[in-house]
Symmetry: C2
Subunit: 238 residues, 2 copies
């Protein structure tokens, strides 16, 4: 079996390779890539069907790479191996994984044994494996209290790249007032009002972005990709 490792940190890459050959002796060949772009190419030319990939990389992150790889060969098994359990990544993955593809999401803090187990389960058995920590976050994100639904999340991203209400309304096809309603519920769910103490006057817009970042609802990468999305939309609009 051919396996592709996409990881920009050399230490982590070699650790991963060690664990891989231990856990999955069926492996015959191991390919390496330093970022998502290389990873896509490698996967295409070498006809790879099993991948272990970091999420956070320079040129093109793991989620974007996964999207194109799955678009070409949906049966590819991908184990994401990441430092963070940000909600932004979770949403990214949830929105790209095809119906019946095998994938896994493991944190780098996981023990070697858990890693080896996940490697076998995903790459070989085509199961779905999600790390405990990550699962916990998924839960919290889908609990009614602080859950952002998709339309709120969209507006959050638009806010985060600095759009004003009117533009958001146009882009998302809602009325101005509806956008503002979304913002109100965002302010509420993100805890923009100083939770307990004296409510001193804040700039809610900026505060919302601040809270979203600090609570790891979004991360800087999602700012960058939201910006790209927006520019694409802008070019398309007449």
């Amino acid at each position: 079996m051919k396996v592709l490792i996409v990881e920009d940190d050399q230490f982590h890459a070699s650790y991963l390779e060690d664990a891989l050959v231990e856990a999955v002796p069926e492996v015959t060949q191991i390919f390496h890539a330093m970022n998502g772009e290389e990873g896509e190419k490698e996967a295409r030319t070498a006809q790879i069907e099993a991948i272990v990939m970091d999420l956070q990389m320079e040129k093109r992150n793991g989620i974007e790479a996964a999207r194109t790889i799955w678009a070409e060969r949906p049966q590819t098994r991908i184990l994401f191996w990441s430092n963070y359990a940000d909600e932004a990544y979770l949403r990214g993955i949830a929105s790209t994984v095809p119906e019946d593809s095998a994938y896994g999401y493991l944190l780098k803090t996981a023990s070697r044994d858990r890693l080896k187990l996940a490697l076998r389960a995903v790459l070989l058995e085509e199961q779905i494996v999600v790390d405990r920590e990550v699962r916990r976050l998924q839960k919290r994100a889908s609990s009614p209290r602080n859950a952002l639904d998709d339309s709120e999340y969209e507006v959050l991203l638009d806010l985060a790249i600095g759009l004003q209400d009117k533009l958001i309304a146009e882009r998302r096809g809602m009325s101005l007032r509806t956008v503002q309603n979304r913002l109100l519920s965002l302010y509420d769910k993100l805890g923009v009002e100083g939770d307990a103490d004296t409510t001193l006057p804040l700039n809610k817009r900026v505060r919302a972005l601040n809270r979203a970042l600090v609570t790891r609802t979004i991360n800087i990468e999602s700012l960058e990709s939201a910006q790209r999305d927006f520019e694409r939309w802008l070019a398309r609009r007449h």
Copy 2:
């Protein structure tokens, strides 16, 4: 010589330990800590005088730890070994390093040889070593074009945690209009206006925070520590 390694990633820690014993055979004992808080304690109880430390850590980051360590024993040599070359970190270090302490700032992407060289230079020879990449950023930050002076940087942090103009004015002891002048120059230097293309209407405040994050002028950690600073100030004000 006793050396303390403060690093929360196990792979990196062991790689570092290897390089350390190779580069500095004078080392007799190596201590480990997983975060800044532990690092401070360890340094105190073991009377450590040479430290290699990551910057980004859970409990207490490297800069804060360095501050207290240097406050206790300014002659301590510290080599910062970090993933990022964020301006936020640079400012942090520049503002904490005592007059004649030896320190270094190296990126984790540096080669093993550069790491070994820096280890000897800083821990043993008490020189000051700053990575090429980092130096480049330092340069750019102090070039007239995009340089934020300290007072602009302060206002940026206040903006970033969501304060409104009036509060910033009070906190920093300037008039309302002066705060707004600072904001204007921030908008300018951060490139809030869509650099070249059609200037479409943006929320400048949010956009400024966005740009500051994307250009690595500040990072999420600095948001968190700015928030703590603000709360301390808030408690003190009558």
